[in-house]
């Protein structure tokens, strides 16, 4: 990777400074917690967005709050940037290492500290996997609601940094709605507690601000999450349609009628065919669009809602309607949707996942434009949506071994995100800006908003040491990107590597 990803030149850490830093860390960390030779560093060179790679100079793996405080104080004193990292499953390059900074791996913070059955809360360390919380709470008939599709591997600390969603967030909210308290360390090394176990906290909503801040304001060291009682009844309904428009109309009709499904997931034909081939879950492969609608609550409520939803769907041109007969079939139907990414991955050597959100009423316009571009660029697109909240995940299929195909894929992805902004949506619903969408931030926000974002970071991190260069572009970068736009994709400096 070249340093052209960043708008400012990146000067690598000098070897003497690197080794002096290693020696300083070794004063309070065991050998195995300070990684500094190539073979140990390589696993950290990218996150889930593996097209961006950079070997970090040093990786530290602390396991106590005091160690994190000392690390940050050292980095603050030496002006060394810090990239915090959970499991590295992020999809936007947010945990991409810097040539002049350390990676602060939080994997050793992997303990569930306490589950309070009566208060229905769990206190966990940031390196705990999302799914592990629900597994541990299951004995008490409780669970942690946000369920990003990477929940088997992603950590709760990373979920806070990205404000992760999941298939159930229309009804149960995002990470920010399900976290009560975060203990975090500032770049100055101070331990701060944001939020609390009450239902509100005095002063500014700093807990809200920390969510989705992509490791740029503070380093999370402990999280208290809210646990919910498992619903006593859950039903899943599958509906197939001859067009995406009809499926979209049915979704609008359900929500307009006053029913909030626990999950509402849609797929287009290429995604349906791929998922069925992968999971053999019983999806009708002749359908143009399909959605899964999950309803949960008390038995009476679910029975009442399922009959209403069936009527609404029948009034909106459904071609096939099926309610999962038992728990096994319900899980099988979900398996198809949850494995849509790897399923699409089998159709093509590579795929690129996009993450825009749009007001749902613009769904057919956006899909039509994507189809046109797909033909124009000669790149296939399969679509899965969180239909309830308008979050689109177009998967662009490409072959990274074909020269120029990744570049065209990224350009197409950028155009799709800009279209999301044009129709009143956003460039990222849940994957974060990271490194990947930093140019599109200049489309969504003006220079005054971007300046205010930098000012907010400055309130926490005046020397810009926490994950600098990510998530919020510099104004220079936006000026350059604007210039790129004027030239209709003819890059002014085609000789510069862009990743």
């Amino acid at each position: 990777m070249s340093t052209a990803l960043f708008s400012e030149p990146q000067t690598p850490l000098e070897e003497s400074a690197r080794m002096s830093l290693v020696q300083e860390f070794l004063k309070f960390l065991p050998d195995e917690s300070v990684l500094h030779v190539d073979e140990d560093l390589l696993p950290y060179e990218s996150d889930g967005l593996s097209v961006y790679r950079q070997k970090p100079p040093v990786v530290v793996l602390p396991e106590t709050i005091e160690q994190v405080q000392t690390i940050l104080r050292i980095c603050s004193a030496r002006q060394i940037p810090v990239v915090a990292r959970g499991a590295g499953t992020g999809l936007s390059g947010g945990a991409l290492p810097l040539v002049n900074g350390i990676v602060l791996g939080m994997a050793k913070f992997n303990k569930i500290v306490h589950i309070d059955e009566q208060a229905r809360t769990a206190v966990v360390q940031p390196g705990v996997r999302n799914l592990a919380i629900s597994e541990a709470a299951s004995d008490f008939n409780l669970y942690y609601a946000p369920d990003p599709s990477s929940q088997i591997a992603c950590t709760i600390g990373g979920n806070v940094a990205e404000n992760s969603g999941g298939v159930h967030c229309l009804k149960y909210g995002l990470t920010v709605h399900n976290v009560l308290q975060v203990k975090a360390i500032t770049i100055q090394g101070d331990l701060i507690t944001l939020g609390g176990t009450c239902l509100d906290s005095p002063g500014y909503d700093l807990l809200g601000v920390l969510h989705g801040s992509e490791g740029m304001l503070a380093v999370t060291v402990e999280i208290t999450v809210k646990l919910l009682p498992k619903p006593s009844s859950t039903k899943l309904l599958m509906a197939a349609f001859d067009s995406v428009e009809q499926a979209g109309d049915a979704v609008a009709a359900i929500i307009g009628s006053g029913i909030i499904p626990a999950g509402l997931e849609m797929m287009d034909k290429p995604a349906i065919i791929a998922a069925e081939a992968f999971a053999q879950c019983g999806y009708p492969t002749d359908a143009e669009a399909l959605f899964l609608c999950e309803l949960d609550g008390t038995a009476e409520e679910v029975a009442d809602q399922i009959s209403k939803v069936e009527t609404l769907i029948r009034n909106n041109g459904v071609t096939r309607l099926h309610v999962a007969g038992d728990e096994t079939e319900r899980l099988l139907l979900w398996k198809g949707r949850k494995s849509a990414f790897p399923a699409v991955g089998r159709l093509s050597p590579d795929y690129y996942c996009i993450d825009g959100t749009i007001p749902r009423r613009h769904l057919s316009t956006v899909l039509q434009r994507m189809n046109e571009w797909s033909e124009q660029y000669g790149l296939r697109i399969a679509n899965v949506f969180h239909a309830g909240d308008g979050n689109l995940h177009p998967l662009i299929l490409f072959d990274g071994n074909v020269e120029g195909e990744l570049e065209r894929t990224e350009e197409l992805g950028g155009k799709i995100l800009e279209l999301c902004v044009e129709v009143g949506g956003t460039i990222t619903g849940e994957h974060g800006v990271g490194m990947e969408k930093i140019n599109q931030m200049c489309v969504q926000f003006g220079s005054d908003e971007i300046t205010q974002f930098h000012a907010l970071k400055n309130a926490f991190d005046p020397d810009a040491l926490l994950n600098p260069g990510k998530a919020i572009p510099t104004l220079n970068r936006c000026a350059e990107f604007g210039a790129l736009h004027v030239h209709h994709g003819e890059l002014p400096h085609p000789d510069i590597e862009r990743f």
């Binding site: 229905r120 101070d190 239902l199 909503d205 959100t357 309130a459």
Partner: protein, 365 residues
């Protein structure tokens, strides 16, 4: 009022007024409907009025999102939503017919549904503000999932206008429940606290729970079949057969119209973790939010009340009192040294000249 008067954008005029104040270094007191002007420490700063900046900008019921200007009356917003069988799920108190959306979000108060449905900040999707340098800025948006940029919308929610003047706000809304019923059950406060907490751990359509003067009140709301089935399994008798009377009970509680609130001592709002036993503070106490929000009329001294709440893991806010007492002891619980520094830094970055609502939240902001 003509429709043009109900729907007008004076954002540029407000921006001009802030620009003039910035050039003169003149502090401003942001005034909406003044329904919550009692909240926080008042000031003599020059008023800037938002009530004429009003109207619904967009509302798409099937997408559960509404955007309105800050001067829009809360009652107008509630009526427009109710026409589509929708509502603001956090049940914000109005306290007067003049309450506006801007003040609702700046104060971020939530009604009895709070423990079950969430707070004002949980429904905040996007906002347009004027910052302390008279720039008009837009953050967040009109979609439910949006992680582009820092969450300035939540930062504005509950900031008491100290970081910027809210021009408009986008909110997630939810369907009105089909049916509701309130159960009343005689109970000791200790028993009620345990019952209220346990109820939230079951898959039941509970949407409010409060203990007032020897009675536990529980609101069930949702599908009619679910409410009736649930009521049959719980202690207590229906307060009334009329859903409108049931609703009025909770409205009175939310709006401080319930007879409990006809007292003259200083009124404190105490926020505590679940299952916190009754606090050792003298005075008359009402328990809302399943016991986690307590309204207390007490003449005990502020330091005792604050330290008792803090020892229980909570905090205390001097909600209604005379100006002299508010100025003397402060209104909002102090957040601790490190967080107070962050508050000062953030205030500096949004409002470097200290124009907006000086001292309303904390004395040095």
């Amino acid at each position: 009022m003509t429709s043009a008067e109900q729907n007008q954008d004076i954002g540029e005029q407000l921006q001009q007024q802030v620009a003039e104040a910035y050039s003169r270094g003149q502090p401003l007191n942001i005034c909406g409907g003044s329904s919550k002007s009692f909240l926080g420490v008042g000031s003599n700063a020059h008023p800037i009025h938002t009530t004429e900046h009003r109207g619904i900008v967009s509302y798409e019921p099937t997408e559960l999102v509404i955007t309105a200007r800050s001067g829009t009356l809360l009652s107008t917003l509630n009526r427009v939503l109710a026409d589509q069988n929708q509502m603001l799920p956090f049940e914000p108190p109005a306290y007067s017919a003049n309450a506006t959306l801007g003040g609702t979000m700046a104060c971020a108060l939530s009604g009895p549904a709070r423990p079950y449905a969430g707070a004002a900040r949980d429904y905040a999707l996007g906002c347009r503000i004027i910052n302390g340098q008279a720039q008009s800025l837009r953050f967040g948006g009109e979609v439910m999932k949006n992680v582009a940029g820092y969450d300035v919308t939540r930062l504005m929610t509950g900031a008491m206008g100290t970081l910027g003047l809210i021009l408009d706000f986008s909110l997630k809304v939810l369907p009105l429940p089909e049916y509701q019923l309130t159960l009343a059950c005689p109970s000791s406060v200790e028993d009620a606290l345990h019952k209220m907490q346990a109820l939230g751990g079951k898959s039941q359509p509970v949407t409010a729970a409060a203990w007032i003067d020897g009675t536990l009140y529980t609101r069930l709301a949702g599908a009619r079949s679910a409410v009736i089935a649930s009521a049959a399994t719980l202690d207590g008798d229906p307060l009334t057969d009329d859903p409108a009377i049931s609703a009025q009970f909770w409205t009175d509680l939310r709006e401080h119209q319930h007879k409990f609130f006809q007292q003259s001592a200083p009124l404190w709002r105490i926020s505590v973790p679940p299952l916190t036993p009754p606090l050792e503070i003298k005075g008359d106490c009402l328990y809302d939010w399943a016991g986690m929000q307590r309204w207390l009329f007490s003449t005990d001294d502020a330091a005792t009340i604050r330290s008792t709440a803090q020892s229980a893991g909570g905090h205390a806010q001097l909600f209604r009192a005379d100006d002299q007492l508010k100025a003397l002891v402060g209104v909002f619980h102090p957040p601790g040294d490190h967080l107070m520094n962050l508050h000062r830094n953030i205030k500096q970055e949004f409002d470097p000249a200290g124009l907006f609502n000086p001292s309303r939240l904390y004395a040095d902001l």
